[in-house]
Amino acid sequence: MSESNQPTIDIRGLHHSYKRQQALRDVSFSVEQGSIHGFVGPNGAGKTTTLKILATLLKPQRGTVRVFGFEIVGQYKSVRRKIGFMPDHFSLYRQMTVQEYLDFFAAAYGLDLQERTRVVGDVLVLTDMESRRNDLIKGLSRGMQQRVSLARVLVHDPALLLLDEPASGLDPRARIELMDIIRELRRMGKTIFISSHILSELAMLCDSVTILDRGTVRYSGSISGLSQGNGETADYLLSLAEDHPAAEAALRKVSGVIEVTKPAKGPQYRVSFHKQQTDPNLLLRAVLDSGAQILGFQEIVRHLNQAFMDLTEPGVPPVIMEAADNTPPTPPATDGGGAA
């Protein structure tokens, strides 16, 4: 597999337990290069454990984890050169100034003085912290400290950023600014793996997403695939001028229609159908032939919030990724078929 096709992150059959509690069970997914990949799940789902394994802080107990093709246990030094990990807490030397802190990490990554000066200047500009470079970190606000954390992650120009809850505790302005910085980093060609609870922002930001629940992957694939359900069926909302039972009966007769329900009291119908057996045009024709007056006909897109609620409900069986066998890893599908 060529390097350009190689997934940035490739996890296969990952298991991890803490004493009696199993944190991860057969977790498998991959992340494409240059994408922003959201990693969501309820508290205790195993997100931080996965992130710590990716950051080489924990050893996987079973399964394989590769980052840029490097095996995470045997080649951890190569992995560390490629990643920047921002934990869910402030990992800051609060008695240092911002400049000293960034300078220290840049030096620790082996950058010479000239390079350090340039890189530290660049990341300060990128995170809009130039004016605070000589301030003690302990005197900065939470949002500012978060920016310093992000700046630290960037000093060695990593190709993959692992961000654990980067927006937690930030005010709305700081959150929006942080999201802008993350988009800018994607434009710079970096792959960003971001764990967050703020689903609305993730939905706008991410190209793909993995939903984890109780240590099991419920979904892994593109955001658009998640919005369109499982890719085999579609849901449409039909709005009529007035109630028309004949239209409902006509819809039920169309081949491929799974069900027709009335979601509200008004003249509206929710139609579910198999995409391969029929298409929206046939449905429209059937309704028009029944004599009903159509006001609207639109696809019901499932938002990340709804998908999250649906997929993480108790009792939902674990979803198995198509590629989660012993075959060589392949990049995840970018369409709706990428559902795990």
Binding site: K52, A55, T56, L57, L58, K77, S78, R80, R81, I83, F85, P87, H89, F90, S91, L92, Y93, R94, Q95, M96, T97, Q99, E100, D103, F104, F105, A107, A108, Y109, G110, L111, D112, L113, R116, N134, L136, K138, R152
Partner: protein, 527 residues
Amino acid sequence: MKLPVLALFERSLRLETRSALMCWSRAGLLILILFVMIPIQSMAKSGWLGAPGLHFLQELVWLNLVCITLAGFSYFASAITEEKEELMLGLLRMTDLSPVAILLGKSTSRLVGALLLLLVQVPFVLLAVSLGGVGLLQIAAAYGALLAYLFLVCNLALLFSVVFRTTPAAAAATFAVLLGFLIGHYWAAGMEQYLTSTHHVNLQRGAWPMLTTVIDLWRRAAPSDRLGAIFQTGFAGPAIGFQVASNLVLGTALFLLAWLVFDPCTREEKDAASPRRWRWRRATRRSRIPPQLVGLRAVSWKDFMFISGGWWGLLLKFGVVAFLVAACNIIALYFDSRKDITWEFEGGVLIWVSLITTAVCLALEAARVFQDETRWKTLSSLVTLPISVRELAYRKVAGVLAGTLPLLAGVVLGGLLVPDAIGSFFRDMEKQPTLFGVFAITILQYLLFLHLTAFLSLILKRGALPLAIAIQYMGGSFFMSFLAMGLSLGRAEPGAIFFIIGVICAVLTAVLHRAIGLRLIRAAAEE
């Protein structure tokens, strides 16, 4: 208990009772008592030791005194500061809990736990009467003195814990006052004697009689003086003496003072981030890592600057050495009636002062070198550098050593001043294996102590250094007892005993060395 004022106190007691650490402490204490008793009895049987019961009691009581003092500036001094550091005191104050309820809950519960640790020993210590050489009255008086001293220490530490913002500050203040309380009266009495003998003052005039009385009361209030009297053969004094009464009164006064100042001292919550040590603020604002210090050397630089204190810290340490050398000279000139100061004397003083200062600084830094990273949760950032945890740990230690080992230049300088004495010391070591054994065991024990401190700092939030001192002290007493037993029974050569102790120290150091590495990896993952 239904009173709201006792709610937190009750909760703390419940937690204390359920705490596995307390159970292990009590069990450890009993095992220690047993191990102290065995060699003493053996020595008494072989006729090496008279009054074994008294020796047994003395050993335990002095051990307790050291442990109480150590607990003062570790366990007790963090009672309120730990809540301040975690920014939890504001939340406690927002509840219905009054200041006295918080003080009782946070400090008095710890006092009760420690009192129980003392009281649990009493039935076993009564065995001293069977061993002989000591009476019930002596045991009662000794433990009474310890209980009163514990009460005083707890409330002194509580006061500083209320007044200061951080545990290190409260611990330093408690340590300084306790040190003054325990040994200051010896110095004051010596000073008084010197001034009288040189006819500088007349103790019968002016404020001197009152000062003399104060020094006398101070001496009588100190537990060391009281215990010295209790351990004398034929002690017939009261079981509860002046020391007990004064310590209880002082302790109560300190608790009331802590209650009084609680509100003004805890009204504002401030960030307790560790301050920049010994560095000029202006200079550090523009400081850069030297160009040659990249990669692993940058890690050493950070610890040299921020754990060891950097260049200013080094200067301060040299200042401390210079001050102590000057103090020794002054004491020698004025109190030891020396007419002149010889190079030999200067060399000896310089060697000892440099060695002791280096040892103290290294112990303090061993307690911080890894703990600061876990405390501020910065280990996960460091561990993701492209280096192994082993390399990281060694580089951190190298940074700390760079900030302290230059003090050993004093040893070299002292050695140059007294080359003959140094030469004869090494020749003596060659001739006398026992001297070499003591020298080697001292170094091995110190290395073990540093490792123990560093390891404890990774598993305890605070108090690693005092606990390491206590463990080392107990371990040292234990080994010394067995050494004496072996010699007294004539069953072991000194060389063999030193060899066994040396091997045990080396093995324990290696085990702790490995454990520190494993613990660092775990701590980084747990952040």
